[in-house]
């Protein structure tokens, strides 16, 4: 039991910082650059992102284990996972609009952006190849979400300061954001080797 927890914790750390989706795997960059301009949107996006990720990972795992593997249909996983995410996002959009309009106005605008995001689809795909069990999948998805949230908040706080900085004119806007991202990515390589399997 104790070993189980340590393994899950390692999985969480590995997913969130060591193999951080943005800084190590370089996925989800469009959303990363799109919403990291302001802290408020970054936090909203992070919350929405993490919750969608965990739920879609759980749905994908169930569908994969109980239907797709017994029927030898795993070659369909990309299509099916995209379908799951899109359907789940659409359904939660509809339900959230009715049940809590306040939350919808805070987070709903990000939902549409998420439905075709590459991190969201990468999580179930990686979880399939790594053959995680249900709990591991959930922890992996949560860790990835938290990792994305960390990178978004780091970037947003830097970019809010960058607005005031005297950046050379050709580098203003996107270029300096990319350079900043590269520097943070370099810093994140420091995490590699944190856990030795």
């Amino acid at each position: 039991m104790h070993d189980e927890f340590i393994k899950l914790f390692e999985l969480f750390i590995a997913a969130s910082v060591i193999n951080n989706f943005v800084f190590t795997r370089f996925l989800g960059l469009c959303i990363f650059f799109g919403v990291s301009k302001k802290m408020e949107t970054a936090v909203g996006m992070s919350i929405t992102f993490t919750s969608v990720m965990v739920v879609s990972a759980a749905l994908s795992w169930i569908l994969l284990t109980y239907i797709m593997i017994p029927l030898d249909l795993t070659f369909l996983k990309i299509v099916i996972f995209i379908g799951i995410v899109a359907a789940f996002v659409q359904a939660s959009d509809t339900i959230m609009r009715k049940i809590s309009p306040g939350l919808y106005y805070k987070l709903g605008i990000y939902l549409a952006l998420i439905s075709t995001n590459c991190i969201i689809i990468a999580v179930p795909l990686i979880m399939t190849t790594e053959k995680y069990n249900f709990i591991e999948s959930l922890v992996f998805a949560l860790g990835s979400g938290i990792g994305f949230a960390i990178s978004l908040t780091i970037m947003a706080s830097i970019r809010e300061k960058l607005e005031l900085a005297d950046v050379p004119r050709p580098f203003r806007g996107m270029p300096i954001a990319w350079i900043t991202t590269a520097l943070i990515a370099l810093a994140f390589t420091g995490f590699s080797g944190l856990i030795t399997m």
């Binding site: 249909l73 509809t94 049940i99």
Partner: protein, 390 residues
């Protein structure tokens, strides 16, 4: 080297190709292809295809039904007008209306009768009209706004701390110890705003003070952003009486540095009949919501720091048949323009009158006309009479 005979053979053979034979030659997937996670020796092709169809169809049906159910179970009643308003808006999500986005403004303007339909700045008057039409409101064109230079201290009227020699641009001058002007709040007079204006609406006068041509000014706020001293404000056209000074120095200090600065003497506060003027941080400000543009403070300001942008005001005159000679107008007139004897018809000196409208309000018989507030005072009196009669 290409053998011509081989090519001829090939061409001959194309005619009698056995399609079934070629298909048989294509290897069937056998190692791990398509199957589960573990590679398998072979895969039953037909059943895989069958399952694929059933599974994809099934998933699609389940998701589709689920979404349809969710849409039916959790319907949100949308006002169709919101969608229409949303379409006529500029769609830039610029936030100029004060809402998070076009959608939010569209909802607010339809749902809330107090939200004005002319808030979409990029859409302009045409959009305002359409929004008003859809939401059933009255379209009122937004009041034009003009740049106002909040400083009158040109190079003759204000003192300098040192002689500046360098790039003739306020933004450069301000780097040299905050500028050469003694007053740190005032216009430097190096014409950055003139160059910033895309409409050629600002020019410098001979004493190095910018002058705004309100026939050309669109209120785009480019000059406001360019001015390093923040000495330009963009204000509604109707609010034409403005304290054109930003100096927060104490009165005596301001006086030393500039002849036309606000010295916070408080005369404007005392004379204002509408309580609009207020002195804060050694600087008088006029509350634009309260100000009725009577112009009384302009006349009373000892340093002429308050400017009246209305070139000609309508003066008061006495309606001879209504006046009862009560002397009230003579008592209240701040510039002693009203005159006459008790019990006789009074007169108002057109040369002295500034059109402040105080006498119009105070006259017990509504016998003074011509000022900006006359119409309002008369209707109010008529209403009162009606109430009394009823």
């Amino acid at each position: 080297m290409i053998d011509y005979k081989t090519i001829a053979d090939l061409i001959n053979n194309i005619g009698n190709i056995d399609l079934a034979h070629i298909i048989n030659l294509i290897p069937l997937p056998n190692v791990g292809a398509g199957g589960g996670i573990e590679p398998k020796g072979s895969v039953d092709f037909v059943s895989t295809i069958e399952f694929t169809f059933i599974f994809v169809l099934g998933v699609g049906t389940v998701f589709g039904l689920g979404l349809a159910f969710a849409a039916k179970k959790f319907p949100v009643k949308m006002d169709p007008r919101v969608e229409q308003v949303r379409e006529v808006l500029a769609g830039a999500h610029c936030g100029a209306c004060g809402y998070a986005g076009c959608q939010q403004y569209a909802e607010a303007v339809v749902a809330n009768p107090d939200v004005s339909p002319n808030l979409c700045t990029p859409g302009g008057a045409k959009t305002a009209e359409l929004v008003a039409l859809i939401s059933g409101k009255k379209a009122e064109a937004a009041e034009p706004i003009f740049s106002r230079i909040m400083c009158q201290g040109d190079w003759l009227k204000s003192a300098k701390r040192f002689k500046y020699e360098g790039i003739e641009d306020c933004r450069a001058v301000v780097l040299a110890g905050g500028g050469d002007k003694a007053c740190v709040y005032g216009c430097l007079g190096y014409g950055t705003c003139v160059r910033a204006c895309p409409f050629n609406a600002i020019h410098m006068n001979e004493d190095h003070l910018p002058v705004v041509d309100i026939t050309k000014c669109t209120g785009c706020r480019k000059c406001e952003a360019a001015c390093p001293k923040k000495a330009i404000e963009v204000l509604p056209a109707g609010k034409a009486v403005v304290v054109t000074c930003h100096s927060k120095d104490r009165g005596a200090e301001t006086r030393k540095k500039c002849q036309v600065g606000c010295i916070a003497c408080g005369v404007c506060v005392k004379v204002c009949p509408f309580d609009a003027a207020k002195v804060e941080d050694s600087l008088s400000r006029i509350d634009l919501d309260k100000c009725r543009v009577c112009g009384l403070c302009v006349k009373k300001c000892p340093t002429k720091a308050i400017v009246d942008y209305i070139p000609e005001r309508s003066r008061a005159y006495v309606l001879r048949d209504k006046c009862i000679g009560c002397n009230m107008c003579m008592k209240v007139c701040p510039v002693n323009a009203a005159g006459g004897e008790l019990k006789k018809v009074h007169t108002i000196d057109q040369g002295k009158c500034i059109g402040c409208g105080i006498c119009t309000t105070k006259c017990p018989k509504q016998a003074i006309d011509g000022t900006f507030n006359a119409q309002e005072v008369f209707t109010k009196a008529a209403e009162k009479k009606k109430k009394k009669a009823a």
